[in-house]
Amino acid sequence: MRKNNEPILEAKDLTKIYSSGIINKEYTVAVNNASFELYPGKVTSLVGESGSGKTTIGRLILKLTEPNSGKILFKEEDITDIEGRSSKKDYYRQIQGVFQDPFSSFNPLFKINRVFDMVFREFELEAENKEELISQSLQEVNLNPERILDKYPHQLSGGQLQRLLIARALLLDVDILVADEIISMLDASTRMGVLNLLVDICRDKGLAVLFITHDLNLGYYLSDDTLILHEGNLVERGATTKVYENPRHPYTQMLFESVPDIEEKWDRSEEFIPEQITEVVEEFYQNNREEGYKEVEENHYVLMSLPDNIG
């Protein structure tokens, strides 16, 4: 029985580099030496703007893409290099994902029950209780099986589809759920319902959740731990309350300052130009004599200077 203070997944120095072009190859470092842990029963939010690499990290964890270097340990086993459908299948019995766009997550040609059928078939779940199991999991996400299973994706709303995908992920009794911007395409009024559902279920079942988002307020609401990404670098991480109340990395600070709050208006006398952020961050790295991460308080780490790039 796993103790709750042991991580269920460890990412160590994950790096992903994309190259484009054949003659004059251009390299983009999407993720640079990212290291973090996921714990059972805890929600970890991965916060970043577009291009920060957060979706790439989600895909790396889900093995939809392979890292250029680094390791992923799942239950202390190195799964970085597993290949082949059957080994990946074992992994997918224990980790699943829900993605940003509910409508593009379903093949438009099929009814929505296909996504459940796929799971039953590929993971060889008990076919006898299939209807019951599906029915149960739909009810857990507050959906009515009779009204839903026979429909095509375009006949349902975004909120319903996301709930369906959560139900699908839960059929497998997974240990980890990767939720990539799962509510950003939903209407304001449906968002909270889907989110609360996710958190409730995860806490009940002791799941580890990696919640990828650009919305800082949501991150605070949901998560126990927070990871802040900037241009592929994990610049700050730690307990959510600590990171939010005491941000120490300049990027984190500027990020928080940009979030609109209904209690307090922005101080408009300060000019705030987004392009300056990169400069300020680089200056910070250059001025620091310490290398790598510094533990500024318990369970709160800040990147003081850039680690070496590989390749």
């Binding site: 009024s189 650009h214 800082l216 705030f272």
Partner: protein
Amino acid sequence: MEDSEAVLEISDLKTYYRVMKGDVKAVDGLNFTIKRREILGVVGESGCGKSTLAYSLISLDKPLQHISGEARLLGQDLMQLSKKEKRKLKLKNISIIPQYALDAFSPTKKIKTFIKDLVKQHGRRADRDFMNKVKERFQIVNLSTSVLNRYAMELSGGMKQRVVMLISSMLNPDLLIADEITSALDVTSQRYVTTLLADLRDEGIIGSAIFISHDLATLYQIADRILVMYAGRLAELGGADEIVHNPRHPYSRALISSLPRVGIQHKDRRLTGIKGTPPDLTDIEEGCRFRFRCQHRTSECDASPEMDQIQQRHYIRCWNYKSLGSDQNA
């Protein structure tokens, strides 16, 4: 602000989409006034009609049609003008930054070409005088003039949005309509673009603005008044502070209390959304449109509420708001 002239006066404006399946009553009886130097924030869920309002003022293209009511810009009723007459007003008196402006950038065109094309579309010429003025304005938006020679793909979303804001305000319009100008941007750019809109008003470059967004917190930062729209109608309209800190309409209250904020964690306090979904606006019947999702519904709500004035320039459409007190938890 009390004695400022009215830049825009909307009286009982109705514009519907006339399509095969019926009339989609997207803007169904709106009333409000915008004074000079005022920024009006318009908030609501998608499908509530806020973008339709924008299009109604700028270009009424089929299947969108004017049904009744007036929209007077500096005295002239926009609904009665011909396309030609409206063109004269474009960019100079009324201007819009449309919702998908960022998509209009062709990745292989230089920014200066984009600017010239855009201006041409509005029936004006981007001659040398114009381009010189553009260069001067670049400073205000913190862009270097070298941007003119760059390609769209070299710029970030925030930078492109600034170019669009620059052009839309070039001729110092009396009213600038900004439709979801921050939604597709990163958080850091959102702050910059939002404050830029307020700066443009402060410097007198734009006379007034309508700032449309689904994000109430962003609107709150710069709006003087906020119009909360629901299903094509006004739910509540009042000063920004009033709406955000003392909302009266059940919908406004529900909206505010469902906003996640730093300080509230799931394990401490549960935030709930609003149950149900917005109604289909096709041939929608009379009655308060929010009643199916409202916790305070009574039998009166089957009749459409009239517009009530709570205090100066603060209006509401609800039968029961008085009995709700000022408790924020809807």
